[in-house]
Amino acid sequence: MDFNPCMKHQLIRKTVQEFAENEIRHRAAEMDKGPGFPEDLIKKMKPLHYFGLQTPTHLGGAGLDTISYAIVVEEISRVSAALGLCITVHNSVGIYPILRFGTREQQQQFVPPMAAGDSIGAFCLTEANAGSDAGGVETVARKTDHGFILNGTKIFVTNGGICSTILVFAVSETDPAQSSVFIVENHTPGFSVGEIEDLCGMRANPVASLFFEDCAIPADHCLGTIGQGLKIGLSALDTGRIGIAAQALGIARAAFDESVSYAKARQQFKQPISRFQTIQNYLADMAVQIDASQLLLYRAAARKDSGRPFSAEAAMAKLHCSTTAGMVTNLAVQIHGGYGYSREYDVERYFRDAKVTEIYEGTSEIQRMVIARDILTRPT
């Protein structure tokens, strides 16, 4: 077993770190006042392939493996989790399902502008009455002679305010048990974006509700085949979970690094607080959980790269990384004391950003269900 990253993955990490430190770090706090990302920053990221991480080169992407993809999301999220969110959602649940389930024509039509960053992707499943239970989806697709007509409202859509290629999970008007995924472009009549959500964290990301009112789309905009909705959704989420795990790990590492330097610098009782055993215990606990997160995440990514099933591994990584992000950012604020509760310190932002990693792309409770299902269906 080799726990050392190979030279390629090391170079990918350094490459992203250089960009993140030079171009993103100094504006992350300002971006947090959001919503939206600075145009010039996005413009710089486009030719560097941040919007086509795992997209094959013939469709304009970088053709990275999953380990590299996770490294990119981790390192971007280490400086701005909200931008990391934009990248991971766009790449994993935006582009990936089209690559995996789309026809050749759909791939040729939709993927190149997405990979170039000219069209941002979003995936919408969640509704007012459907979250963990995808069976509650009320957005309907009515079959017509020319295609489909969509009606419904999606909420908490990541990238909602900036997306132009949207994957919509909807059920058949005649058979609510039959679900499909449709590709909707933002210029489609009947499509509109609601207010940007006023959220606790990830504030730079324009998370919004999306409305579909008699939204007519051509027949060839159904992704895969009719009735494949749940399969596509679950597959997208499996992949998405690796991204969210990487994002959570990035946040945890950022909070940890701040905590270590603060603990060394902050003087109380005439000594740095890092001399106190309580603080040392906190740092040790944080380090162990971060390390474990890293191992789980990169194992899941490596499994996906090797073509083996990775659903349970991705769920384990997502569960552990997000729990770790919550625990580490909480302790980071504690170590910083009153300063940690102030917007002047980055750990306050990390603390707010971390929470949602335990909620979206399947809550921690849903991850446990996925893991348990895997355990209980294993041959004995």
């Binding site: 030279m7 490459t15 560097l48 086509g52 080169t57 590299s68």
Partner: protein
Amino acid sequence: MLHIIVCIKQVPMVSELPWDAKTGTLKRETAQGMMDPSARRALEAALQIKAGMGKNQASITAVSMGPPMAEEILYEAKALGADQGVLLTDPRMAGADTCMTAFILGKFITDHCPDAGLILCGAMSSDSETAQVGPQLAEELDIPAIGYARRLELVHDCIRVERHVDDFMELMEMDLPGLVTIDHADESDLYTPRYVPLGGVEAAFNAGDIRIMDGTALGLNKDFNALTSSPTKIIDVYSPVTRKENRVLTGAVKKMVDTLFDDYGKIISSAMGKDLKTHDHEGDV
């Protein structure tokens, strides 16, 4: 077809350098490496020259002498757009001073890149700042050299070089083959290195291995040893000692100000970048 050779060096990323007290050299294997910023500017210059020429009119070879881990910066160079990467590595090359480094690089270029037209180096590396390897390499190859260039332009069979010397600009032309070292950042920043595209990294690793050459492949003598052959030796490496001293000035204000300017005037004026006339205030009293 212009063959551009860019000499690049891996330098430690950290500012606190781990030194080997015995040999007086850097323990490169324990430090996180990166491409020397000045060498990266030289590569940027090469990429811009190549982009300004027609398709297949120029080819870039990035070469580095260093430990095996320096392979990484050659992949990085390829990710940025270099056509070939070559690593000259051998335990017998370890401990080379600038003279031996130039000798080894020169041997590679003479024997393996006889068509080399333009050789680019960073003016000086961030870790040792000698600015010697470039000029010494030109001596090894017996070709002309210009140091501290800020702008390059190919004009027919020669290269036009702009460089900043003291308070004036110098514009020169040099026949090729020749060697140019690229100055560090300035206001015009023509050669600010581009960021590495992620797809470039993937492509660089898919495109095959970096060519690795040891002393034998390079045709060095069997008993060649860079450390013992190096005419210069680092005797000692240490951080300069700084002392902090508090001093309380007492007495009348005029006396205190006089003492302050007498004893510290030079330091204050150099920090301000202005000449201070220390006793001008006397007439005011």
